[in-house]
């Protein structure tokens, strides 16, 4: 069993495209849930709209690539408005159900042959990423330094994406220290009290939903450029659940938790995968218990089990404080 290669893969994944996209999307989720207390279970819908806004604008409509990025963000913004209007006046668990339902509606729509003319049906959209890769300075196929191992195009998107993640983290941190952030956190703690002080809780929640949604859309744009494609089958609800796992792992309502949580999530996922595959290849696991094709299934079981156990025994995650984040219905 090659521990060196497992370590290299793990570290590369922790800093890789998946972790970067997750970090961005989870910052949005943190704005929703961590700071405002909104139960958004449809974050993957915002990510999808970011990607589709970009892909449709460039490939289907032939617009300018920068306009494509703008459209990705606009789509996410409109989605937030559409979701917020019916649900933000209701109790939190309604928002949870409606957001997950809306993200599924979206996935079924973009996947359908009815809309294939605009969304590419079940094969998705390709052919928009070259507009961005023409600026790629990393022309070699593979870059291997120290424990990191990235392809040239990946290194390009990472060198843009991670600084962007840091920038958005900084902005969100500053925003949450501002008067606006204090109102939003007050709504999280006690919506009635915030209303009694004359704050329009509905509108603040709507703004928070839009902000977090646009950050999710940005994650989708990064994902689309990194993969050079948008695939409808990526945007399944379980991805939102993984994002929640990453958020809770890092600690809900903390500045660094989206980044730390996403890197940990993808690192842990890769290390379990590597170790399980290693065990399987060495024949240390009896065949009836696990074969090579079941490694992925066992990995998902561990994610589900991990999410449940984390929520039971350490709901504040690694860095959260239990006092600040007593998760409860509101």
């Amino acid at each position: 069993m090659n521990w060196g290669s497992i370590l290299e893969q793990t570290i590369s994944q922790a800093f890789g495209v998946n972790a970067m996209v997750f970090a961005m999307a989870v910052i949005g989720l943190n704005v929703h849930f961590g700071y405002t207390g909104l139960l958004n279970f449809g974050q993957i819908g915002f990510v999808a709209l970011g990607g589709y806004g970009l892909g449709m604008s460039i490939t289907i409509f032939g617009w300018n690539p920068w306009l494509g990025i703008l459209m990705g963000l606009v789509y996410a913004l409109i989605f937030a408005l559409l979701l917020g209007v019916p649900t933000l006046r209701l109790r939190g668990d309604y928002l949870a159900i409606v957001t997950i339902a809306a993200s599924e509606v979206l996935r079924i729509l973009v996947r359908s042959t009815t809309l294939a003319e605009w969304t590419g049906g079940n094969t998705g959209i390709t052919g928009f990423a070259n507009a961005f890769y023409q600026f790629n300075p990393f022309t070699e196929r593979v870059y291997d330094f120290g424990p990191f191992f990235f392809t040239g195009p990946n290194l390009f998107i990472l060198s843009i994406g991670w600084p962007l993640v840091l920038l958005v983290t900084f902005l969100v941190w500053q925003l949450m220290r501002s008067p606006w952030g204090r109102v939003v956190k007050a709504i999280r703690e006690d919506e009635d009290a915030a209303r009694a002080l004359g704050k329009n809780a509905y509108w603040y929640k709507m703004q928070s939903l839009m902000l977090g949604g646009v950050i999710g859309g940005l994650a989708g744009i990064l994902l689309a450029i990194a993969n050079s494609t948008v695939q409808p089958d990526y945007f399944v609800p379980v991805q939102t659940f993984f994002m929640w796992t990453a958020l809770i792992l890092g600690g809900v309502g903390r500045v660094w938790s989206p980044i730390v949580g996403s890197m940990l999530f993808w690192g842990l996922l890769t290390v379990t995968d590597g170790v399980l595959r290693g065990f399987e290849a060495e024949g240390w696991v009896p065949r009836w218990l696990m074969n090579a094709s079941q490694v992925g299934q066992i990995r998902f079981m561990l994610v589900g089990l991990g999410l449940a156990l984390l929520m039971i025994y350490r709901p504040q995650g690694l860095f959260g404080s239990r006092e600040e984040m007593m998760l409860d219905a509101r």
Binding site: L39, V85, P86, T87, R89, L90, R91, G92, D93, Y94, A96, I97, V98, I100, A101, A102, E104, V105, I108, L109, R111, S112, T113, T114, A116, N122, V236, P237, V238, F241, W244, T245, I248, Q294, Q297, I298, F300, M301, V303, G304, L305, G306, L307, A308, L309, L310, M311, I312, P315, M326, L327, D328, A329
Partner: protein, 442 residues
């Protein structure tokens, strides 16, 4: 309720024993819906290819004047049938381009029939009829009520668990899959496939049993799983004072865990119950219903009436409704709330399991059915009003009708969208649901 189910068992047994000795095989029928005459016409000259489960091609045939292409097979099992879209005559097309390949479950000594229904004109991703006929509306309504009844059985538990504990259970659909898989295990594999020494022991302990016995086991083990979920996890969480949102996230984790355990144990292929694939439909007036669907709908109705009577007339049922209505008031009037919640879990899970068996016999059995129906359950429960038992049923039937009738206007691949949009619209105009009370929304 058990007696009635047993009566249905007796009714079913002859149809199980009807298998004739002889050759088994796969038969593909290619039909076209002629909207002008409302008749199904056979389509000749379409190439059909047959594969085994591993994907190896077994042979190919061209449909005859009856629209039939068939090959004999050496052994029973799951086979795949693929229609060659290039050989479909001008002017006809497959409604859903994804569906060129279908699965067939071949029984010993029988021909399994797979029907490919073509539509006039270009397929637009679903069987959208060219026009709306009374026959289609009636047929789709029956199909919708059927789906709604099956979903409703699961939705009642989901709604009552919410009503009594405030928990939105994202893992509820896994209880439906559980019923399906347990029934499949007893119906097709049999207990002796797991514990060889029980072979030759009576009934359930022996090899594969008939579907009714398997369904009974599914209901029993479903109730047991519900009991275990509450006793092992959720009662403890309530005692720890874990918040409702945290509990909800825990159910999400559990649903991922359970779903992949199903995949691990069961594999990714779709399966069918023994002896119920490909029955001939019986025409009742303008609508066609298969015998097994009529039985399934009757079972669902009887079970639901049983639930209604239990809730309405028995002490336990009244206690359940009381706790669901106002937990503190119920507790202060001397009801043991924790016990009632335990029973709600047991009954809700058992009902969900029965719903799973009925869904499984009308459709394919897969490990990820839960992810496909969870949102439909939510839609039904929210439509009817969170926390109400009858509302969940009414809402589910509306969801079933909405799904089926929306294919009149929409491509069938978009059909579940109608139900989900209906849920969102209801939240806009009447957030407490059709039968909910206003103060629930909070």
């Amino acid at each position: 309720m058990l007696l009635l189910a047993a009566a249905f068992a007796l009714w079913l047994i002859p149809s199980v024993g009807m298998a004739q000795e002889g050759e088994q095989g796969v038969r593909a029928r290619v039909l076209a819906d002629d909207s002008a005459t409302d008749e199904r016409e056979p389509v000749e000259g379409v190439a059909v290819r047959f594969f085994d489960q591993g994907g190896a091609e077994l042979g190919s045939e061209v449909t005859d004047a009856e629209g039939i292409a068939e090959i004999p097979l050496p052994s029973p099992g799951i086979y795949q049938v693929e229609i060659d879209p290039a050989t479909i005559p001008e002017g006809l097309s497959l409604p859903n381009a994804d569906e060129v390949r279908r699965e067939a479950n071949v029984q010993a000594g029988r021909f399994a029939t797979v029907i490919f229904q073509l539509v006039v004109g270009e397929g637009d991703g679903g069987a959208r009829g060219t026009d709306i006929t009374l026959r289609r509306v009636l047929q789709l309504s029956v199909d919708g009520v059927k789906l709604g009844l099956f979903l409703g059985m699961a939705a009642i538990g989901l709604s009552l668990i919410f009503g009594t504990t405030g928990l939105v259970n994202f893992a509820h659909a896994e209880l439906v899959t559980w019923g399906m898989l347990v029934a499949y295990f007893f119906n097709v594999l049999g207990l002796s496939s797991l514990f060889g020494f029980t072979a030759g022991w009576p009934w359930i302990l022996n090899g594969p049993v008939d579907l009714i016995s398997a369904a009974l086991m599914a209901v029993l083990l479903g109730g047991l799983l519900g009991w275990a979920a509450d006793a092992g996890v959720f009662a403890r969480l309530r005692r720890r004072g874990t918040g409702l949102i945290a509990q909800m996230v825990i159910t999400i984790g559990l649903s991922i865990l359970i779903r992949y355990i199903y995949l691990y144990m069961f594999g990714g292929t779709g399966r069918f119950f023994r002896s119920y694939a490909g029955q001939q439909a019986i025409a009742i007036g303008p609508i066609a219903v298969t015998y097994k669907d009529m039985i399934a709908m009757t079972v669902a109705l009887v079970a639901l009436i049983g639930v209604g009577l239990t809730l309405q007339l028995t002490r336990a049922g009244r206690a359940m409704r009381a706790v669901s209505d106002d937990r503190d008031l119920a507790e202060s009037s001397g009801i043991d709330v924790q016990r009632v919640i335990r029973w709600v879990w047991v009954a809700g899970a058992a009902l969900a399991a029965l719903g799973g068996v009925l869904l499984g016999q009308s459709d394919v059995i897969r490990w990820d059915v839960g992810s496909q129906i969870l949102l439909l359950l939510f839609a039904g429960v929210i439509l009817g009003g969170l926390g109400t038992a009858y509302g969940a049923l009414v809402g589910s039937i509306l969801v079933g009708l909405g799904i089926q009738l929306s294919t009149l206007f929409l491509a069938s691949e978009l059909r579940s969208i109608g139900a989900l949009m209906l849920m969102i619209v209801i939240l806009l105009i009447r957030p407490q649901g059709i039968m909910g009370r206003k103060e629930r929304v909070g």
